[in-house]
């Protein structure tokens, strides 16, 4: 994969946006009211996940304000925005990881295909098997590489025989592009791998349970540029079989890997559109200010 071309694409985006900055629109917060409705095209036909009017509260503090958006089948959606804007909070509510935080409360309608995620009858365990998650910091279990990948399949009884399990482990590691590097040391601890390898191991672990959606919470923020490039390549390949939502701090990364991009600002979804449109012709002044680097 030519990293140079992907990097160039990001730089072109920056350059296209820069003239706007030169015109000198001051990024005063008063001049950027939140839109009544999200600008752009947050909805798609026949979505994989459908979220409407989602509010998330931490105690009395509201972290997400009425966010509505769709995630289409087999597409990569990037969630971008300045720190503390609620991207990760929103992402974690998509497979109910927020349940582990006592004071966190989610309201609104969130659906995975026809299933209501917050239905009291919803089986959270099954939901998390269908909507997997990759975290910001690589968090392999302190077990062998093999046991890390086999963890999910064993939990859910996906393999009856050792042979089947071996196959799942190998396929998952191949899909995560890690097989060639670790096939001779499957029984060594996963924590002994490099940071980038650990993160690919975590991706392999996630896809080993065959999820339908993979949520990624800044998966490259702890990695060096080469490891990042590998993960980005991997995301492109994975989008053929999985639906992916990725939170990222890097606008270049969003531009490189995603088909659609959502821009969050202080808990509001300001704008969502095709990635190219968001980066070349942002429709809202907040989005424009962010992608041209005036804050964030």
């Amino acid at each position: 994969m030519d990293n140079a071309s992907t990097l160039n694409k990001g730089q072109q985006v920056r350059r296209a946006a820069n003239p706007l900055q030169a015109e000198g629109k001051p990024p005063m917060s008063n001049e950027h009211p939140y839109p009544e409705k999200t600008v752009g095209a947050p909805f798609v036909d026949d979505p994989k996940m459908r979220m409407r009017d989602v509010d998330v509260f931490y105690g009395d503090k509201q972290a997400i304000h009425g966010v509505s958006l769709d995630i289409g089948k087999n597409e990569v959606v990037a969630l971008i925005g300045p720190s503390g804007c609620g991207k990760s909070t929103f992402l974690r509510s998509l497979n109910r990881m927020n349940d582990t935080i006592d004071i966190c409360r989610v309201s609104g309608s969130l659906h995975l295909e026809e299933q209501d995620l917050y239905d009291p009858k919803m089986d959270v365990v099954e939901l998390r098997a269908r909507v997997g998650m990759v975290f910001q910091k690589p968090n392999p279990f302190p077990k062998s590489i093999y046991d890390n990948v086999a963890y999910g399949p064993r939990l859910h009884g996906l393999a009856n025989k050792k042979y089947d399990l071996d196959e799942i482990v190998e396929t998952s590691l191949r899909k995560a592009g890690l097989w060639e590097e670790v096939k001779d040391r499957l029984h060594q601890p996963g924590t002994g791998l490099s940071g980038g390898q650990q993160q690919r191991l975590c991706i392999a672990r996630t896809i080993a349970v065959s999820p339908e959606v993979v949520l990624m919470d800044e998966p490259c923020s702890a990695l060096d540029p080469i490891a990042t490039a590998k993960i980005e390549e991997l995301i492109a390949e994975l989008s053929e079989s999985y639906t992916i939502a990725i939170v990222t701090h890097s606008m270049q990364q969003a531009a490189r890997v995603s088909q659609r991009t959502a821009y969050f600002h202080l808990g509001h979804l300001v704008e969502m559109n095709d990635t190219d449109t968001v980066f070349t012709k942002p429709q809202h002044s907040l989005t424009e200010a962010y992608i041209t680097g005036r804050f964030g």
Binding site: T100, V125, A129, K137, N139, K143, L155
Partner: protein, 462 residues
């Protein structure tokens, strides 16, 4: 001047040295334009002067106190006329005691021979001189040190690093105290044990199946021949400890899991200290709880089921001891479980694991070294525990693994061997040291074994 006053004087001198050092460094700094032109803060110059005063003075004081007594004794003994000098070492000791008593006024002067009276006077005189000399030496050395520390103060002096080095040595000495104490205890036990093994063969001791340390203390006494087989004691110890661990490990571990993973923070803040109170109950209280409540309860329960239960049983002692050591397991396990990073929990939950699956498959393996540490601590407590066993399990050295019978443990036997008037070189008393040594070696072996196991199976997280 006595030692207490002398110490007080040293403290005053050190305080003065500190103050003077501080003043001098400030005075040096003023023409330069403030203390930032000094190499170190005034505190370090002052500290250095104070240390120069304190360390030499205290070293002189310490050495003097250590050697002063034996030096004076040698002088007094040497001053005795040759025909008064007893030949044997112990008779010489007795004579010295007599001289001492006369000098301190416990014995009237006219009740002893004139040579002894003269010696007593010499002793008193020498002591007086020594005390005076000590006071002078300490004051002079302390003042010289302080003066040196004060004179050397200059803006270039690296007082900060020097104080640092002194502190380093101080810390090292403190660490050394703990280690040396352990070595000292081990040595004293070891030497007495060697004397014991001179009387009783190690094979009889280590592999003997009968424990009955009743031997004739005097030649004319009628007594049974002693048996010093330690096996029944070790079996009793292991039996009671095993019962205690069977109670404490599951209960402690599961309560730790509950507190760390499930309990609401408010409940945890209350429940954890409450559990730790268990460790603060004196063991003698546990002892009568075991003897008066648990043991009769077990006996009645056993009888109602048609079992023959002794009124003092290993089971009663083990159960109560198990309750006592629950906090050792639960408190340490709780700490290490809480220390497992949240990211590992998230990873497991994110793959669709339930909370208990996460605990079983990820958290416990990651926390295993700490949990083993807690269990080990609990086990050493159980092995070393005496009071509960004395009161609840009895003194009879039965070789049995039946928890319903009375047994005894190594520690209990050590207590019974050493209480009362005993001749200190009889096999009976010396046996206590041999038992102590064995106990020490057993716990050491357990420690090493557990460390090995932990090293092999630990799952290291970053």
């Amino acid at each position: 001047m006595d030692t207490g006053n002398l110490l007080l004087l040293v403290v005053v001198m050190v305080a003065v040295a500190y103050y003077m050092g501080r003043q001098r460094s400030m005075a040096l700094a003023r023409p330069l334009g403030g203390i930032r032109h000094l190499h170190s803060l005034p505190f370090y110059y002052a500290m250095r002067a104070a240390l120069w005063c304190a360390i030499p003075a205290l070293v002189v004081l310490g050495l003097w106190l250590v050697f002063d007594d034996s030096f004076i004794r040698t002088l007094v003994i040497g001053g005795l006329p040759a025909d008064q000098l007893p030949a044997s070492e112990s008779a010489r000791g007795l004579l010295l005691n007599q001289i001492n008593n006369v000098a301190s006024g416990a014995l009237p002067v006219d009740s002893v021979s004139p040579a002894v009276a003269a010696a007593a006077e010499r002793l008193g005189h020498l002591r007086q001189i020594s005390t005076m000399a000590l006071a002078v030496a300490v004051i002079v050395v302390g003042m010289l040190g302080a003066a040196w520390g004060w004179l050397k103060i200059s803006p270039q002096l690296r007082a900060r690093q020097q104080v640092e080095r002194v502190l380093q040595v101080l810390f090292m000495l403190c660490a050394l105290i703990a280690i040396l104490t352990t070595v000292g205890i081990l040595m004293s036990v070891l030497f007495e044990s060697i004397r014991f093994f001179g009387k009783i063969s190690p094979v009889d001791f280590l592999f003997g199946l009968k424990w009955s340390p009743q031997i004739a203390l005097r030649a004319d006494q009628v007594a049974s021949e002693g048996f010093f087989g330690a096996i029944p004691l070790f079996v009793g110890t292991l039996l009671i400890s095993a019962i205690a661990l069977i109670v404490a490990v599951p209960v402690g571990l599961m309560s730790a899991i509950y507190l760390a993973e499930y309990a609401h923070p408010k409940l945890r803040a209350f429940a954890k200290p409450a559990l730790e109170v268990l460790a603060g109950v004196p063991t003698v209280v546990y002892g009568f709880f075991a003897a008066l409540t648990v043991a009769p309860f077990i006996r009645n329960l056993g009888e109602s089921m048609g079992l023959d239960v002794a009124s003092e049983s290993a089971l009663a002692a083990g159960l109560v001891m198990g309750v006592m050591i629950i906090p050792f397991v639960s408190s340490l396990a709780d700490d290490v479980i809480t220390a497992v990073p949240q990211s590992l929990r998230d990873g497991s939950l994110g793959l669709g694991a339930t909370q208990s699956e996460t605990i079983k498959k990820v958290i416990i393996p990651a926390a295993l070294p700490g949990i083993m540490g807690g269990i080990l601590l609990a086990a050493s407590r159980a092995i070393g525990e005496t009071m509960i066993v004395v009161m609840a399990a009895g003194l009879s050295a039965n070789l049995t693994v039946n928890p319903l019978e009375a047994v005894t443990t190594v520690t209990v036997q050590i207590v019974t061997l050493l209480t009362g008037d005993q001749e200190f070189d009889s096999a009976k008393t010396l046996a206590a040291f041999a038992l102590g040594l064995m106990l020490f070696l057993t716990t050491l072996a357990l420690n090493v074994l557990a460390l090995r196991i932990v090293k092999k199976y630990r799952e290291e997280y970053e």
